[in-house]
Symmetry: C2
């Protein structure tokens, strides 16, 4: 109690001693500005003195401006203005370490074009929330909480919620992976899964082999950790195997990071034979593969292809990362790592060091949603709608753009390559006409891919798709004409 150290002497009047004591507390900042003082009756009782002494003390302090009263609310401390030179100023920017500096420098959110009303944005590949099945989601919450009650709201295990892990192990088996000797750790989305692997197993200066272009968040995480990214070119057949062979011979290659299922940003799907050959090459070089199972669920044109991890029966060379975040509730941030049991055991301790575990409530709801078949029910509807957009967008691109490269076998985006048209300049011009997209350099490990861009389709409707692509096409025609004139 803040007044507990006040001991009265017999020399001064009580009200004077109370005044002094309160002033002293304010000087020592033991009561903050606008802090509330006890009511006069209460303070009298606490101090064992008459209420009148307290009233006199308060009146004197108020006339000095030290405290103020609001009728019906109480008595408060007048805030003291602090001089600029008295303020404690830490220049946090200068204090960032290399990781913190890079995390900021590479954060495209901080440099990107701000969204404005009326803009047609092809930037996002996050799912269309209108397609979420909120009723089934609510049911999942209510069922799970009535089953688990407080248990799901208290501390859980670093590895994750057991029913969800078991469900996902079966789910991975159905993708053709032999899960014997393997286990799963639940993470806060794909981003944390990759971040954990890199932060526990790499040192600055280590090399990672990737497709080039590749997922921009992965590039950011790798660069922020000080890693050296070695890109392998992509063409319409996907990853260039000859180049991969050469680059696997380089020194200090710690991992391969690959997105075979539905490559971001190109939308290419790695063929089965190639998956096996890629596995063989990495195994030969003894370089473990981090496989990003990105968006497998949204393939439209091919039946399912087994992940690269399916070749690693009984082995520990392929670590598979995934999430449902491009279909189901990314706001909950749930992803997973499938790997050898011992690896998962090591990662458990890393997880405990970072944030103990992923929300058990969210894991429980997701488990219920999946195991009740709501996902299977919903995915059919979602696929149909996204596929319609995708086909329509393809038609519009052919009609308005006449691209050199047109990649993408499904999912939520299409990759477009042009001749001699700088996609940053294209973006700037389109932005003036209220259309934006992701320029290719964002996905390039060396900021190249100047002539390509990604169109995300999840957050635009058919009308916007046509209108937006038409504007992009007209702008390209404009630029092509300017190029021709410049060449004449």
């Amino acid at each position: 109690m803040i007044f507990s150290s006040l001991e009265f002497n017999n020399e001064e009047p009580i009200y004077k001693q109370i005044e002094k004591y309160i002033k002293n507390m304010i000087d020592n900042k033991l009561i903050a500005g606008n802090g509330k003082l006890p009511a006069t009756r209460e303070l009298g009782r606490i101090l064992g003195v008459s209420r009148n002494s307290v009233i006199t003390a308060y009146e004197n302090l108020e006339s000095e401006g030290v405290i103020y009263t609001i009728k019906g609310k109480g008595t408060f401390v007048t805030p003291i203005e602090i001089n600029e030179e008295e303020k404690w100023n830490i220049p946090w920017n200068d204090k960032l370490n290399e990781y913190g500096r890079l995390a900021n420098e590479l954060d495209i959110v901080k440099s990107e074009i701000p969204w404005e009303k009326g803009i047609i944005s092809f930037k996002s590949i996050s799912p269309d929330g209108e397609l979420f099945n909120i009723d089934d989601f609510k049911k999942s919450f209510l069922n799970r909480i009535s089953m688990e009650e407080h248990k799901i709201l208290n501390y859980g295990y670093a590895k994750g919620y057991k029913p969800l892990i078991d469900y996902l192990l079966k789910y991975m088996q159905n993708k053709g992976i032999d899960t014997k000797g393997k286990d799963i750790l639940i993470t806060n989305g794909f981003t944390e899964a990759l971040e954990m692997m890199l932060s526990a197993f790499t040192k600055p200066g280590d090399s990672i082999i990737c497709e080039n272009p590749t997922h921009n968040t992965a590039i950011k995480i790798m660069k922020a950790q000080g890693l050296n990214i070695i890109g392998v070119s992509m063409n319409e057949d996907g990853l260039c195997l000859e180049e991969l062979k050469e680059k696997l011979k380089l020194e200090k290659v710690k991992f391969g990071y690959l997105i075979p299922s539905y490559h971001n940003p190109t939308g290419l799907v790695m063929k089965g034979e190639k998956r096996h050959e890629v596995y063989r090459l990495f195994k030969e070089s003894n370089v473990p593969i981090i496989e990003d199972g990105f968006n497998e669920e949204l393939l439209y044109n091919s039946t399912h292809l087994s992940p690269i991890a399916s070749f690693d029966t009984g082995g520990s060379g392929v670590v598979y990362l995934s999430s449902f975040s491009k279909i189901l509730f990314p706001g909950m941030r749930i992803g997973w790592i499938l790997g050898e049991k011992n690896l998962i055991d090591l990662l458990q301790s890393v997880k405990r060091c970072k944030n103990i575990h992923t929300s058990f409530l969210d894991q429980g709801i997701l488990y219920e949603y999946l195991s009740e078949g709501y996902f299977d029910k919903n995915i059919k509807k979602v696929k149909k709608i996204y596929k319609e957009k995708y086909k329509f967008a393809l038609k519009c691109i052919k009609k308005y753009i006449n691209p050199k490269i047109l990649w993408g076998e499904g999912g939520l985006h299409i990759y477009v390559g042009l001749d001699n048209i700088n996609s940053r300049e294209l973006l700037e011009r389109c932005y003036k006409k209220k259309v934006i997209f992701m320029p290719g350099d964002i996905f390039s490990i060396d900021n190249a891919s100047d002539n390509a861009f990604r169109l995300g389709l999840s957050r635009v409707n058919l009308e916007e798709i046509e209108k937006g692509i038409k504007i992009i096409g007209e702008t390209i025609t404009e630029m092509r004409r300017e190029n021709e004139i410049a060449l004449e």
Copy 2:
């Protein structure tokens, strides 16, 4: 489609070509072991051949043991046993970097006494889930989701859910903090809050000044990041100021990490005058303070004391971390960082690099729960029950143990110090009698505090408290007697 590259020639019978093709796929692991083949009718249709050709091919393959049929289920690939030497084995333990190695080595979960049925455990200070108000929690979920619908299930912002941030800013104002120029970032619990600050602003070899003993998870995170921990002793008046002055003069002190509100493990509360003095000393040395607001809400005996951050009006020298995890739903993992606006802006990019953002669903539910007043309603009940346990435990300790040190002004634990009794040995003996607790060395930066231990009270009832403390007391008496005999 897996059969799409099969092109028939005119030289061999169709069934033979199908056989060869399937064998080849299996050899190349394009169909996994136990993978399902299409039904004969379906495959005939896909390949544009007669169903009989497919049946013949399947029969031949089955007689060779290459595939097998389960009646009513379908035809499957016989799994191939892989030789041990063919398996790709990555020795993940050897691949860990220093951080990964330390995260594992310092993980007490991996070395601790396993829980068994019938054990009275004073280890935990996680809340008693039976005290959670599940009905109000459900209401919070349903209200928030009907308000926000899919928006709260889609991607959100790195900083957090705005209504929750605004609520917490007011909450911090009520603790006496002037939040002008300050902002809040939502984290996955306190653990992530501390981990983020350290991973963005420290380098291995940097020093951190802490109370000694201190929170074991904080010690782990700091050590795993390669930091040098400088301890300042605690006595019954709390932190020793003379020692603090000396240690602030040491080189490369990056931060102070302090738990003034309700210190873990000692349970001591830092007095207001001392808080101000500690603030002054750190400011004088220009060493920023990371203040851990641990369990402020559970103080029983004192009225509220302003956090150290409340002295830093207009400044940027104190970063305040907290969570409700010791009272509200730790399974959801929600904590926060309060700091200068610019610091929070820098940390946003770090958060995006680690896991994009904390679950918006969980933040939304927590916001609803808090703003509806359910927390205030619940905390009174919770305090009453915990206080009863706490008072009863104090009585039992005095009755059965006769300790040298008996600290703890509230919260969920009591700190007990003994003369000449090694608490690890005490634990081993008590474990045989089915009573366990947290030995003091876990909280010591140099694994000292040999004669102290922490009793967590949240997960034991009154009967268990008396029974458990009686057993601990009897064991201590035993050990004291042995010591006396040894001395004679």
